[in-house]
């Protein structure tokens, strides 16, 4: 994969994280998460600029021009997705996300966001996300971790969970239930 494709991939991954975080910020009425979405939107603009520069530096053969056109179009649509996420986060920051119908509709959604704290004695503590493989074990995909006053957004395989961490994860209803049991220590992830 060349530099530009790598950047496009980063742009895509960022836009997906932003959507997840944006809907979560509404659900939990959480300004801090909403601010992160706005921050990621700025980061997306930087990556988008870098993609444009990379396109401009290409040798303009016919083949390259077609590729540039496809890349540019894809970049624009991904940016649009990111901007939409930012627009959702903006509602939270303005304090306009408090109509009860809003959180009720998000709770009725097919994809839920669950927030749980890792209790003492949970099998999840001191384990790396890559080892626990929450997604393949119970369908929950971790989008953020709150540790003390700090958030870790879009954690990776090597992120190690700690007792007291609050995890934000997206997934189906029955998965959320298992996830709560894992975090509370009622269930061990190795038994799944």
């Amino acid at each position: 994969m060349d530099e530009m494709e790598r950047k496009l991939l980063e742009l895509k991954n960022t836009s997906e994280l932003m959507i997840d975080l944006a809907y979560s910020s509404v659900l939990f009425n959480n300004t801090e998460i909403a601010e992160e979405v706005i921050f990621l939107d700025k980061r997306m603009e930087e990556i988008a600029d870098e993609i444009e520069e990379a396109i401009l530096s290409m040798e303009p053969t016919k083949e390259v021009l077609v590729k540039a056109l496809v890349l540019l179009n894809l970049k624009i649509t991904i940016e649009k997705i990111g901007e939409s996420a930012a627009s959702i986060a903006d509602v939270v920051i303005r304090g306009f996300s408090q109509h009860p119908v809003i959180s009720m509709s998000l709770m009725d959604s097919e994809v839920l966001t669950e927030r749980v704290e890792i209790s003492p004695g949970s099998s999840l503590s001191d384990k790396a996300l890559g080892e626990i493989r929450l997604a393949s074990r119970c369908g929950m995909f971790v989008i953020a971790i709150k540790r003390g006053r700090r958030y870790i957004y879009g954690p990776g395989k090597n992120t190690i969970l700690q007792e007291g961490d609050t995890l934000l994860a997206r997934g189906p209803e029955d998965g959320a239930e298992v996830f709560r049991k894992l975090a509370s220590g009622k269930m061990d992830y190795r038994d799944l």
Binding site: M1, E5, L8, L9, K12, N13, E16, I19, A22, Y23, V26, E63, V66, K67, L69, V70, N73, L74, I76, T77, I78, K80, I81, E83, S84, A85, S87, I88, D90, V91, R94, F96, S97, Q98, H99, V101, I102, M104, S105, L106, D108, S109, E110, V111, R133, L134, A135, S136, R137, C138, G139, M140, F141, G171, P172, D174, G175, E177, V178, L192
Partner: protein, 211 residues
Amino acid sequence: MAESDDYINLNKIDMSLKELLTEMKDISEVIVDLAYAALMFDSEDIAQEVEDLEEEMDDLKYAIRIKAMMAARTKDDAMQLSGLLQIANAAENIANAAADMVRLQEFPLEQRPFLSFILKESEEKIRMTQLSSDSDMVNHTIGELAIESNTGMRIIAIKGRQGWIYDPEPDIKLRAHDSIIVRGTEDGFRELVKYTSGKEAWEPEEVATDG
């Protein structure tokens, strides 16, 4: 022509504000997955579904605007409902972006080989697997199997003898030779393929039934 019904789908108007927003949020999520799937598998059928969903979003958008206006009694109501409409609008913009994305199919496949490569490298990937007749998932519903909570793979579309089913409901039964398009992590996919291929017996954990 031009009865007002042509412009607004009336059964959307009958939905509640809550139902409308839930529907818009759900579509905004699945439509992006479908758009990437359309590009990856170069499928005109999936692209068509993306366009249909985008049109449905349009109906939902007008319905939710009307419902929100009817719900506002006070200035405070109006302020919070303006927030609701902004979220609905953002969901619709996501659908528009997804529809724009599938238009990249107008470029011949050989001119965008890197696209599917990028899509394969994403954290959560869109993949396709076919159900072998040996798989004991055959003749079970998606709900019974609780595929997502057991493997983390979310089914976004199924192609069977009767054609495509998009964003399938839990009561949809899987049949031998169905192709299923899923979204999720790499190891979740590997797990799923063990079962769809029939190499391993599907042993749902208590996940689905345990209250």
